[in-house]
């Protein structure tokens, strides 16, 4: 079982080698340029940067991130259920297990509906 994960390490090593090798080679053989103030400035279409670079952004991004965690866990929770549903069917508990998961998803969907009605996914409105 663990043995099967070793090739993943090879793949990871290969990917890292390509990435680091690319950057390293670029640094070695790439053009060496001069620095100046304009070049070091953050890019804002040629003008001097205005204000702080870390701009305030909509709180909706936080909301989406939180709801994402909820739903992502829900989806992951469905994977083992989905894989073993046929097994439960064979032992005669198929519809019961189906109903349990349906109840769970409906509970989460209540949250989804609530967030929907409260305008979490309305990106046109302010606030």
């Amino acid at each position: 079982m663990i043995r099967e994960f070793v090739p993943v390490l090879f793949s990871l090593g290969m990917a890292l080698a390509i990435a680091l090798g690319g950057i390293g080679l670029g640094i070695v053989i790439g053009k060496v340029g001069r620095r100046n103030r304009g070049k070091d400035m953050a890019y804002e279409c040629g003008k001097d940067p205005i204000g702080s670079p870390s701009a305030r952004f909509s709180v909706k991004f936080y909301l989406v991130a939180m709801i994402f965690i909820l739903f992502d866990i829900e989806v992951i929770f469905m994977y083992p259920w989905a894989v073993s549903l046929m097994g439960f069917k064979q032992s005669g508990m198929g519809w019961q297990v189906f109903g349990l998961m349906l109840a769970f998803v409906l509970l989460v969907e209540v949250g989804h509906l609530y967030a929907y009605q409260k305008g979490v996914f309305d990106w046109n409105k302010r606030g």
């Binding site: 019961q96 509970l107 209540v110 509906l113 609530y114 929907y116 009605q117 409260k118």
Partner: protein
Amino acid sequence: MIRWFCPEVLLVLTGVTLILADALIPPGKKEWLPRLSILLGIALFIFTIWQSGQPMPEVWANLFVTDGLSLVFKPFFVLCLVGVTLISVRYPMGREEVVRTEFLALPFFSTAGLCLLASARDFLAIFVALELVAISLYLLAAFHRSRAASLEAGMKLLVMGGLSTGFLVMGIAWLYATAGSTEFSRIILEQAGRPASPALLFAVGLILTGLAFKIAAVPFHAWAPDVYEGAPTPITAFLAIASKAAGFVLLLRIFCLGAFALDSVGWVFRPILLTMGIATVTLGTLAALPQRNLKRYLAYSGIAHAGYMLLALGTWGESGMGTVAGYLWAYLLATFPVFIFVQELERVHGNADMRHLDGLAQRDPGPALGLTLCFLSMAGLPPLLGFSAKLSVFTALWSAGEIPGLVVGVIMAVVGLGFYLVPIRAMYWEREPDVVPAQRFPSFLVWILLLAGAAQLILGFQPRPLVRLVEKSLAPMVSGNLQGK
């Protein structure tokens, strides 16, 4: 199928219904939702009394059990919920005319978690139920968003709750590593008759630490006064009574009924529980003396009460267990009316400062009398209910031969009398302030407080109903599979 209609499921469904109603009904047409939630709460309370002896659904048979403890404490928690809903409706939350429905719906989820805790027989179930309780409470504590104190309370509760959950989960992990199971009966079977391994003791210690946060026992009490002061008053009441009771129910369940009801564990943890009890009683009593804010005052009073219950728990026997169960009911009956009063005080004066009590007896003799009886009951004055509760703690300590605990308990009860007299003195002997607020207390408050005071007296003279309740809580486990569907 009929088993699915258990209090927990119905509580969650009620909460979901309220949330959905809030989301789907357009604003301006929701005035009836608070009334609906009160009605549903009362209906659920009646249902719980009728139903809490019934076994849980079969799929949960490995996780939950119906026994005396759950029989007695499910109605306890739902009663707390009814009280909280009743006063939430009147909580003054800034400019908003009608209370937000979420504020009414979240306690239902929290109570569902509490009821699950009352019958959990597996540490995983405990963890999930505890999180259900805690996450709703984090939100509720921070619900009064326009007040910085409320946000602070929510933040503190979140951090401390997270910390305590961390301890608990770590303990459960260690326990699983040592005993190979998270189920109480398996742990007992696995560990009975052999010396406790250090890993097991470590696990028990971590779990005890996690729960000590929940019951605000010294040295894990520091969050309680700040959170109680900042949180909206209904939620303070819920935290102070229901959440604390849940911690004790869990302690009873794991130390007296299952999992760690082992001599090998008790040998180490009895002294620890007793020491914690002594420290908690002492600190709660002494620190309450200088408090000038009623909510902080009640927080320290609650810490002191937790100390007495820890002392009773430390006797490590059936009598200790019955004592804690009875004490919790007495605590509920004496403390909740005071919280109702505190909220009305906040409605009138804007805060819960104790100077608003000055001369209350001349202005409003009814509430003053009721409050006095409740405070005296908390102090444990002889004819009242609180006296029976404290007396049973002391007798349990005496019969277990725990003399240091007994001595400290009695001394602190006497000192406590002093600090419970502070608000009484303010009501009866202080002069009324020159500026009397125009707003008066509503008449229902007078009745509730008088009723509560009468209850202290009646149950003090005739504690028979409570004793029967306690006896019920000691009833052996009702197996999930023995009773019919």
